[in-house]
C-alpha cells in the first residue's frame, strides 16, 4: 500500500511496490487521457531550494496533466528560507496547504529530515549529491520500454559518480535485481562513494569494475548512463575544470558500442555527450525525460491513493 507514503530513497519501497508504479506508468503512456481528471481538487507543492528545469517542470506538468494544481517555489531566495526559516517549519506550513510535496535541496538528507516532521507524502526530488529516486523511476521506465526488464544486463555509469545522485539512486535500485553487472567509468577522484560501493554493491555480491577508460568497455554494455560533472558540487573550481572534460561521448566512441546499447543521461547535458550523438537511435535521453513525466504521474496517483 503506497497511500500516504514518502519516497526519499530507492530502498523505501519494495520491488512489488515499485512494480505497481511502473505498471501504472506504462498504462498512463498507453492512455493518458484516462487520467486527466484523476487529481481534481488535489494540490502538489514543489519546494525547490536548488535550481531545476526538468524535474520541477516534470512534477508540475505531471500534476497538471492529472487535473490537479501546483504551488511552490523554485529557489530558496524566494521562500522564507531567506529569512532563516528551518526546513521543518517550512514543510509543516506547506502541509497546511498541499496534499503532497516534492522537495529538492542542496543539502544531503534534507528530505529525510523533512519527512520526520510532516504527515503528507513527500517525494525527494534530489538532495545534493546524494539521491534522486524519481530520476531512477524515469530511468527504469525507460529501460523497461527499451529492453523489457532491468534484469540480466550490464550497466555502464560514466562521469561524476561521486556526486552524481542519479547514479547513486539507480545503482541502489538495480542492486535489488538478478543478473545485473556494473562498470563504473570515471576519474579516480569521482568514483562512487564508499557507502554505494561497499554497502550496496559489494554487500549484495554484484559483479562490478571501476575503470578510467570508456572505449574498451563499450562493447560489453546494455546501457551506458552518462552524467555531467557538476560544477555546483565542487568546493574547488580548479578540480572542476581539471575533471569536467575527462569523458566525452562522441560518434567515434559510439562506434565501439553494440547496436543494442542504449545511451541514457539524466540531463542537463553540458558537453559530456556531443550533439552529433543526438540523432543516433541509441541515444534515448530525450525520450527518457518524457517518460519522467509519466512515471511521476503514476507516483503521485499511488502516493495519494487514487490508483
Amino acid at each position: 500500500m503506497l497511500k500516504n507514503r514518502s519516497l526519499i530513497d530507492p530502498n523505501d519501497f519494495t520491488r512489488e511496490e515499485f512494480r505497481e508504479i511502473f505498471d501504472l506508468g506504462h498504462q498512463i503512456i498507453a492512455d493518458p487521457a484516462k487520467y486527466s481528471k484523476s487529481c481534481e481538487g488535489k494540490i502538489l507543492a514543489t519546494l525547490f531550494y536548488e535550481p531545476s528545469t526538468r524535474t520541477r517542470l516534470s512534477f508540475e506538468t505531471a500534476m497538471l496533466r492529472l487535473g490537479g494544481q501546483v504551488i511552490g517555489f523554485s529557489e530558496a531566495a524566494s521562500s522564507s528560507t531567506a529569512k532563516g526559516e528551518s526546513i521543518a517549519d517550512t514543510l509543516r506550513t506547506v502541509e497546511c496547504y498541499a496534499d503532497i510535496a516534492a522537495m529538492r535541496h542542496p543539502k544531503e538528507g534534507a528530505p529525510r529530515l523533512a519527512s520526520h516532521y510532516i504527515h503528507m507524502p513527500l517525494i525527494n526530488a534530489g538532495d545534493g549529491g546524494h539521491q534522486h529516486p524519481t530520476q531512477t523511476l524515469t530511468d527504469i521506465l525507460t529501460i523497461e520500454r527499451l529492453r523489457g526488464s532491468v534484469e540480466n544486463k550490464t550497466y555502464g555509469f560514466c562521469g561524476d559518480l561521486k556526486f552524481g545522485r542519479t547514479v547513486h539512486s539507480l545503482v541502489k535500485f538495480l542492486s535489488n535485481y538478478e543478473g545485473v553487472r556494473f562498470i563504473f567509468i570515471s576519474p579516480e577522484e569521482l568514483r562512487v562513494p564508499e557507502y554505494i560501493r561497499e554497502e550496496v554493491v559489494r554487500k549484495k555480491g554484484i559483479p562490478f569494475q571501476e575503470v578510467d577508460q570508456m572505449e574498451p568497455y563499450m562493447g560489453e554494455l546494455d546501457f551506458l548512463y552518462m552524467t555531467r560533472v557538476q560544477r555546483e558540487r565542487f568546493f574547488n573550481e580548479e578540480d572542476y575544470i581539471r575533471l569536467k572534460d575527462r569523458f566525452i561521448l562522441d560518434k567515434a566512441k559510439m562506434a565501439y558500442a553494440r547496436p543494442d546499447t542504449y545511451i541514457l543521461h539524466p540531463l542537463p547535458r553540458v558537453n559530456e555527450i556531443s550533439t552529433e550523438v543526438d540523432d543516433d537511435p541509441r541515444a534515448q535521453y530525450f525520450q527518457q525525460a518524457k517518460n519522467g513525466m509519466y512515471v511521476r504521474m503514476a507516483l503521485i496517483l499511488k502516493l495519494l491513493g487514487i490508483y
Binding site: 528551518s86 526546513i87 521543518a88 535541496h105 542542496p106 543539502k107 544531503e108 538528507g109 534534507a110 529525510r112 529530515l113 520526520h116 538532495d127 545534493g128 549529491g129 546524494h130 562513494p193 564508499e194 557507502y195 561497499e198 554497502e199 568546493f235
Partner: protein
C-alpha cells in the same frame, strides 16, 4: 608502582582499549566531578597488553550505548561496600543518537541544528556507522 585504592560505592569501567579512556572520561564529564575519580591509562593487562581504567567513587548515570560504541569489550562493574554487585555486558549499539556528529559538510546536519544526529550500525566488526541523513560512513572509534 602507582597505587589507586579500591572504591566503596561507585563504578569501575575496566578493560577500556588503551587510548580511549580519556574520551570516556570527558564524555562522562568526570573532569567536573566533585567526588573521587581516577583515570588510569596504559595499565598492564594480561589479556590486552595494556588498557585504560576509570574508577568513579559515586553512582552516576552511564550511557551504555556510548561505552559500547567506544569499546564493547570494556566492562562496567557496579561496586557497593567494596564489592562488585553487578557486571554490565556492553554491546555494539545498532543505533546511536547524539553521540557521533556527521562531519560531511554537504549533510543537512551541517546547517539545521534542531534534531538529533542519528547513526546506524553498518559493520559490527569494523564498528562503522552510517549517517541517517546523508549515508556518509564513519568509524568513530576504530578497533585497535
Amino acid at each position: 608502582m602507582l597505587e589507586i585504592t579500591s572504591i566503596e560505592k561507585g563504578i569501575v569501567i575496566d578493560h577500556i582499549t588503551a587510548g580511549y579512556g580519556i574520551q570516556v572520561f570527558n564524555y562522562l564529564n568526570l573532569d567536573k566531578a566533585d567526588y573521587n575519580v581516577a583515570l588510569i591509562c596504559n595499565a598492564y593487562s594480561q589479556k590486552m597488553g595494556k588498557k585504560d581504567i576509570i574508577k568513579i567513587n559515586n553512582v552516576i548515570d552511564i550511557n551504555y550505548d556510548f561505552l559500547g560504541l567506544i569499546d564493547p569489550n570494556a566492562t562496567v562493574n557496579i561496586i557497593e561496600e567494596g564489592k562488585t554487585i553487578k557486571k554490565v555486558k556492553l554491546e555494539v549499539p545498532e543505533r546511536v543518537e547524539n553521540i557521533i556528529r556527521c562531519k560531511n559538510p554537504r549533510c543537512v546536519t551541517s546547517v539545521e541544528h534542531y534534531f538529533p544526529h542519528v547513526f546506524h550500525l553498518v559493520d559490527k566488526e569494523k564498528r562503522s556507522y552510517r549517517c541517517e541523513y546523508c549515508d556518509d560512513i564513519v568509524i568513530p572509534y576504530p578497533v585497535k
